[in-house]
Symmetry: C2
Amino acid sequence: MEAHSQGYPYDMILNNIARFVDLADEEKDLFVSFWKKGSAKRKEYVLEPGGITKYEYFVTKGCLKVYSLDPSGGEHVNMFAIEDYWTGDLASFTLQQPSTYFIKALEDSEFLTITKDNFERMLREIPKLERFYRILYRNSLVNYIKRTNEGISLTAEERYEIFLSTYPQIANRITQKDLAAYLGITPEFLSMIRSKITKRS
Amino acid sequence: MEAHSQGYPYDMILNNIARFVDLADEEKDLFVSFWKKGSAKRKEYVLEPGGITKYEYFVTKGCLKVYSLDPSGGEHVNMFAIEDYWTGDLASFTLQQPSTYFIKALEDSEFLTITKDNFERMLREIPKLERFYRILYRNSLVNYIKRTNEGISLTAEERYEIFLSTYPQIANRITQKDLAAYLGITPEFLSMIRSKITKRS
DNA sequence: CACCTTTCTTAAACTAGTTTATTTTTTAGG
DNA sequence: CCTAAAAAATAAACTAGTTTAAGAAAGGTG
């Protein structure tokens, strides 16, 4: 138990924040007050498209799948959010436009949520957090740029191997079907890739 | 001439900043002191991969092409940066890793540059800018997410039409070849798409 | 304004990844 | 521990986009 501990799940989010900025104890209390606990059972939806996203999420337990459906019903997975990950539909949350994403729990999950009003109030009352979110968004941007480039310039097989080495802790928690939807290919083609790799080694 | 004008190109970058935060006159002077003018003639390289990116860029005139080459030499355009656009290789600049991008002037161009040291000093001395860059990165992230999703779930033809309607002011300044490299297809296939659309209408 | 280079088009053969369908394996949960 | 349902594997026919090549149109520089 560290000094001024808030206990699970608040210590988890505070430790995440502490990577980039130091909050004073009273700022920590204030910070925590803006976030609410939430949870979802396996297979339950955390978010469905159509309406405007109410919350941004910080996952403290479990695994969420963030995805959209294309016009012909195909699933495209944007990210898998496990413990200590920030997620949500940033476009819908930011621009207050209808969401295009589904968020579904792949395991029994717990998370913290914040509304847009509270998010803005929080940044006004704790200006230090502007720096935190500046760095968080910048890092996300760097990752997105990398992923976009991979999608454009690498084969499905290369993208598969990069995923395995980048996210080993996620790879063994999800199905082939969901992984295929993340890689942008069909489960059948992923299956071909896997059997090809197995034969090779 | 507005109050406390710094003249071209500094008014341009200050107006861009003013979209999200208000700087006091002395903050404007300080801000401007961190940026240096740069320029490149048509076809000249602003950045070549291999080394660590020294600068981030704010374009004030002309048009820059930001791109990378895949293992077999194919060009992949990340963005076209015209007047009032921020650009650079954020991954290399941020993580101080070797750059993987080329930046080439498509027209005679002018821009402002900042080093990483100055960028960090600037944020320490003008904390209000944390908010500006938080919003800038968040907006970039929203755009990247949208573009990634388009690349995954739309056909080349759909992506072409979205590009035309989203960036009409860029579309008529670049070649088909560069546009194809942005869309992730060959110039030959873009040519096919165009003739198909022409016949249809 | 004329040449030379670069860009754009057209078309045919080709390939990475999809679609559809059937069978086998794994998994959750009563 | 069993069983229904979901996931994974295999295979053949198919499609979006590539590759190669060769000719037509633009465009910048002497």
